[in-house]
């Protein structure tokens, strides 16, 4: 039985090792990093989808004014629309905009149809009774904001 050392050496020229082969063999293993990156990416995509995108509407909180000043007409620096919301059964009605109580959707449609140049600078003061759901106030606020009106919660 002959050992390896006994075998004659091959007489072949020395081969230069490929640089690419060397680097792939001894370089860092990228697989875990790619895995982690993909998982983090999926996590953020999933959390963004689940959470939903949020933003905010700005509302003023005016102090209650002296009734005499309000009656005098000099209390408010800019024209103010007043909307009072109340419930009639399951329907949300609005008084203060127009002559008689109207459905919230109708008031929102009226505000949305306003010319923005007319609406700009107006302040919509929203007052609501205790049983009015919060979404109704936000819906009115949303319509007014879309016309560049300022909104005050009273």
């Amino acid at each position: 039985m002959s050992s390896i050392s006994d075998q004659p050496r091959r007489s072949r020229p020395l081969r230069k090792r490929n640089v690419l082969t060397r680097s792939s063999r001894f370089g860092p293993n990228m697989t875990p990093m790619v895995d982690v990156t993909l998982v983090i990416l999926i996590f953020f995509m999933a959390s963004a989808t689940i959470g939903g995108l949020e933003w905010f509407l700005r509302a003023d909180l005016p102090k209650e004014q002296d009734p005499d000043l309000i009656d005098s007409g000099y209390a408010l620096p800019t024209p103010m629309l007043g909307a009072d919301l109340y419930m009639d059964g399951d329907a949300v009605l609005v008084t203060g905009i127009g002559d008689k109580p109207r459905a919230l959707a109708s008031v929102i449609a009226q505000i949305s149809a306003m010319d923005e140049s007319d609406a700009q600078g107006l302040i919509l003061g929203i007052r609501a009774r205790d049983d009015v759901p919060y979404w109704a106030i936000v819906a009115l606020h949303d319509a007014a904001s879309a016309r560049s009106m300022r909104v005050a919660i009273r």
């Binding site: 933003w55 905010f56 509302a59 936000v138």
Partner: protein, 138 residues
């Protein structure tokens, strides 16, 4: 007959492939993070109203988040607080940092009767405006 090594390697070149273990660990971490987040949302149980307009959040100053649940429960920055303590707490926070925005996260189904005291107490504390958090309507 030679027994093969459990590690499957023979000699000096043998090593454990940790890649699947890292994969599994990361997936588990993500799973628990998601479940934890969902649990927190459920705990807060606030369904924001939707709006077509709004102002995108900016990270300039961390706002004070006031959560109002449909049942009238109040929280400040995610911490539940008793209704009778709210006024004092919010007044103190406003005095300490008057420029910090106040963001109200009200439940869409909450009756205004539970929102109004919050607004009144904010007004009494000297807050001149609030930011009403909404969900972007697609």
């Amino acid at each position: 007959m030679r027994h093969r090594s459990i590690i499957s390697g023979e000699g000096t070149g043998a090593r454990i492939n940790v890649t699947p273990m890292i994969d599994i660990v990361m997936v588990l971490i993500v799973f628990y993070l998601l479940v934890g987040q969902l649990a927190l949302d459920r705990k807060a149980s606030i369904d924001l109203p939707q709006s077509r307009t709004g102002i995108e959040e900016s990270a300039e100053i961390d706002p004070i988040l006031i959560g109002v649940g449909a049942n009238g429960s109040i929280s400040i920055n995610g911490e539940p607080i008793a209704n009778e303590r709210f006024a004092g707490e919010i007044a103190g926070m406003h005095i300490r940092s008057p420029n910090t925005p106040m963001r109200v996260r009200g439940d869409r189904e909450a009756p205004y009767g539970v929102i109004r005291p919050i607004m009144r107490q904010l007004r009494d504390a000297g807050v001149s405006h609030v930011e009403l958090m909404t969900e972007q309507r697609p």
